[in-house]
């Protein structure tokens, strides 16, 4: 069948600059560039290009430019190029269209309509360069009250505290499963989390034994497929996370295709090589809040109540009620992943149309837990669309204890958000299980880039807090007085629990 799909991108090569070094030919994993010895020229197959910029960055003479195909269909706001291409692709294949990363639609980002406050005259701002500024964040259930005792003239804490995670910054690396991303990326995340004093999350693909030594800085995930979930795995993690859903694909499971289940992946997921790794949509032992409680306590029993148990859901319409149930079920941490949350592979129709923006979910969940007097019983981590330190500050002021970053972490080590993770051919060596391509991520360099990102964002968070006259992240949490909305309706402002700018 003749394909009617036109190239999305056009490669322009400046043949004056091109030295025929063939770096682009070797770097491209999509077979775009090829050398034609007859004419001594490098040519391209535009139709294969995914606009990942690997060739652009690595071309030593800067000879390559990638442009969006300027040939457009007749302008139509309704029948966009994307809509036409999707129909053509499905007519040719009869399949579900897969994509990677998070929702790319413009209409769900509320962070950009929220502005932060700063101190002027009536209260002093703080200079974080010279004054202490506290970002340390404890994640886990907090007691309803503290009971103190006197012992030998000293005050001692009588209340037994629930297990806590201690992060030096309110930023953690989100669940990225080994299999969806390469081993070197997992290793870099573990090293960076350890060095900076925060946490990485295994995702649902298990944990390679070589990373067990970083266990104190790893949150291990238990998902519906139970891949790699063994007693050793539960023991090694600093916390356990039950994955109910994720923002990129709420309500559906996942399939790691058999060709990606290599020897290493098989060892970590504890399944045979070459078989599909199917994650069912629900956890089949969790059909209710009561069942969730049962699984939470099964995990607590298995680990002797020494680790916080987190439960992750996708932000959906009734998140607030569900979150209340999760807290009452015994979750020490609840994770909300918004509609912009990313993935290694999801049907595009689900990614772009299911779930709700994290800002609205966070505001309603935090408010609901406060109204019910149980906000202290669990920490809230949010994820799905955190792009900058400003997003982090706004999230914490809206009520989060901490944020998970995924896409931002991958961008730090090379990702250009081309949204082709599901192909497994990531030319940056990130979203792949191919051992040859994986080598492109040097774990030392990647870890350094991640630590740099955490450092930079943490410095910026301190600057913003200092400007507000706040010297501890605790005082920012749920402090919605520091937020003002612009361009928002009354209903949006009401749900976000913030005032309009100028009010």
């Amino acid at each position: 069948m003749k394909s009617y799909i036109e190239p999305e991108f056009i490669i322009e090569r400046d043949n004056e600059r091109c030295t025929r070094c063939k770096v682009c030919v070797n770097q491209c994993t999509y077979d775009v560039h090829y050398y034609d010895p007859e004419d001594d020229i490098v040519r391209s197959r535009d139709e294969n290009c995914v606009n990942c910029h690997r060739c652009v960055v690595f071309c030593p003479t800067r000879a390559i430019t990638i442009k969006r195909n300027p040939t457009q269909y007749t302008e139509n706001w309704n029948w966009t190029r994307e809509a036409i291409m999707a129909v053509k692709k499905q007519a040719e294949t009869g399949g579900i269209i897969l994509t990677g990363m998070g929702c790319d639609k413009p209409y769900y980002t509320y962070w950009d309509r929220i502005l932060l406050n700063a101190s002027q005259v009536t209260n002093p701002s703080i200079d974080p360069l010279r004054e202490p500024m506290e970002l340390r964040t404890y994640l886990g259930a907090k007691p309803d009250k503290l009971e103190l005792d006197m012992e030998n003239g000293d005050v001692v804490l009588k209340t037994k505290l629930a297990p806590q995670l201690c992060a030096e910054t309110p930023i953690l690396f989100t669940a990225l499963s080994y299999g969806a991303i390469s081993f070197n990326v997992h290793l870099a995340l573990a090293r960076a989390a350890t060095e900076f004093g925060t946490f990485m999350n295994t995702g649902e693909g298990g944990l390679d034994k070589r990373l067990y030594k970083y266990g104190d800085h790893i949150i291990v995930q238990v998902a519906s497929g139970r891949f790699g979930v063994s007693p050793d795995y539960l023991d090694v993690g600093a916390a356990l996370e039950i994955k109910i859903g994720q923002g990129a694909k709420p309500g559906i499971g996942g399939h790691l295709p058999g060709e990606k289940v290599t020897e290493d992946i098989s060892r970590t997921r504890m399944i045979p090589t070459g078989t599909d790794a199917l994650s069912p949509a629900p956890q089949h032992d969790v059909y209710s809040i009561e069942d969730l409680r049962q699984l939470i306590y099964a995990l607590k029993e298995a680990t002797d109540y020494t680790k916080p148990v987190s439960v992750k859901i996708a932000a959906v319409h009734n998140s607030a009620a569900i979150a209340s149930g999760m807290v009452r079920a015994g979750a020490d941490i609840i994770v909300l992943d918004g509609v912009r949350g990313a993935t290694g592979a999801a049907p595009r129709v689900i990614r772009d149309n299911v779930g709700i923006p994290i800002e609205l979910a966070l505001a309603s969940v935090d408010q609901r837990l406060r109204d019910e007097g149980i906000r202290n019983k669990a920490s809230i981590i949010i994820s799905g669309g955190i792009r900058s330190s400003a997003d982090v500050v706004k999230a914490i002021a809206l009520g989060a204890d901490a944020v998970y970053i995924g896409t931002a972490a991958l961008v730090a080590i090379g990702c250009t958000v081309c949204q082709k993770c599901h192909t497994g051919k990531c030319p940056w060596g990130i979203a792949t299980s191919d051992p040859w391509i994986s080598k492109r991520v040097d774990p030392d360099i990647a870890a350094r880039r991640l630590v740099n990102l955490l450092r930079a964002w943490s410095l910026e968070i301190k600057e913003m807090m200092g400007g507000m006259g706040i010297n501890a992240i605790e005082s920012l949490r749920g402090n919605r007085e520091q937020l003002r909305g612009v361009g928002l309706t009354d209903t949006e402002l009401k749900i976000l629990g913030i005032k309009m700018a100028g009010e």
């Binding site: 897969l98 519906s224 539960l234 399944i271 199917l278 089949h284 032992d285 306590y297 099964a298």
Partner: protein, 266 residues
């Protein structure tokens, strides 16, 4: 131990309140005992003793959950949900019925139930063996796996309900139909739906199978695989293995290890 351990005594009489050690056998009276306390006792004693007997078990959850040592445990009564979940090593005999989630995500060890079991028996189990003498509930053996030397075995002596072996990815699931009347078929629907690995052996007729599954006759190597499993089962429950083996068996295996390979646009 906190004061929850002091509870009223019941048979067998138990002067220490809960625990008696005699000839290397530790006996626990679980009357009114919270599962937390019971599991703490199991964890502390499984290190130092070869056998633990627990009496008066009335639905306490999580018994043996996450337990690791190669201890032998006898439960008299009814263990509650998620019994032997995440277990790695022990052998547990239940002299009574079991409830839901027996051997949930179990890694190794053995469970023998002298009675029936509830839903999702052996969910995602990766290793070890589970023998249920009578019937079991829904979604038995769901997402069983295997890896390397670990090949879980789950035998249900009676019949099981819908979604038996759903998403099954490895291991051996055997359903013997011993509680069925002559000529009666298994009522389970969607047997093996989503199956992409492992084998299900069923004695007796199966009414309804998932579309990912094909039904095969047994071959010589199947008998060789099945015989020791059934003999072990019969050894626990005093059935005649040869008589069971003369029944009509069918083998259910997946068409493909990649059931959803063609679902997506490439």
């Amino acid at each position: 131990m906190d004061k929850r351990l002091s509870h009223k005594e019941q048979k067998p009489s138990n002067p220490l309140g809960s625990v008696v050690a005699n000839n290397g056998v530790v006996t626990i009276n679980a009357t009114d005992m919270h599962y937390r306390d019971l599991n703490l006792l199991l964890k502390s004693h499984s290190n130092t003793t070869k056998r633990i007997d627990i009496f008066n078990v009335y639905g306490q959850r999580y018994i043996g959950t996450g337990l690791k040592n190669n201890v032998e445990i006898h439960i008299y009564g009814t263990p509650g949900n998620d019994f032997a979940a995440f277990m790695d090593g022990p052998t547990i005999y239940v002299h009574g019925n079991a409830q839901d989630g027996v051997g949930n995500t179990m890694n190794s060890g053995k469970v023998v139930v002298y009675g029936r079991a509830g839903d999702i028996v052996g969910y995602a189990m990766r290793g070890g063996k589970i023998f249920i003498r009578d019937d079991a509930g829904y979604r038995v053996g769901i997402h069983m796996k295997e890896y390397g030397d670990q090949k879980p075995i789950l035998v249900v002596g009676g019949t099981a309900q819908d979604f038996l072996g759903e998403y099954m990815a490895g291991g051996i699931l055997v359903v013997l139909g011993l509680t069925l009347n002559n000529g009666e078929s298994h009522k389970a629907k969607f047997v093996g739906t989503g199956m992409h690995g492992g084998i299900i052996y069923v004695r007796g007729r199966v009414a309804h199978i998932g579309k990912e599954v094909k039904i095969m006759e047994l071959e010589k190597n199947d008998i060789a695989l099945l015989k020791p499993i059934i003999e072990e089962f019969c050894g626990y429950f005093n059935f005649d293995a040869n008589k069971i083996l003369t029944g009509e068996f069918k083998k259910l295996i997946p068409f493909s290890t990649r059931p959803y390979g063609r679902l997506y646009a490439q």
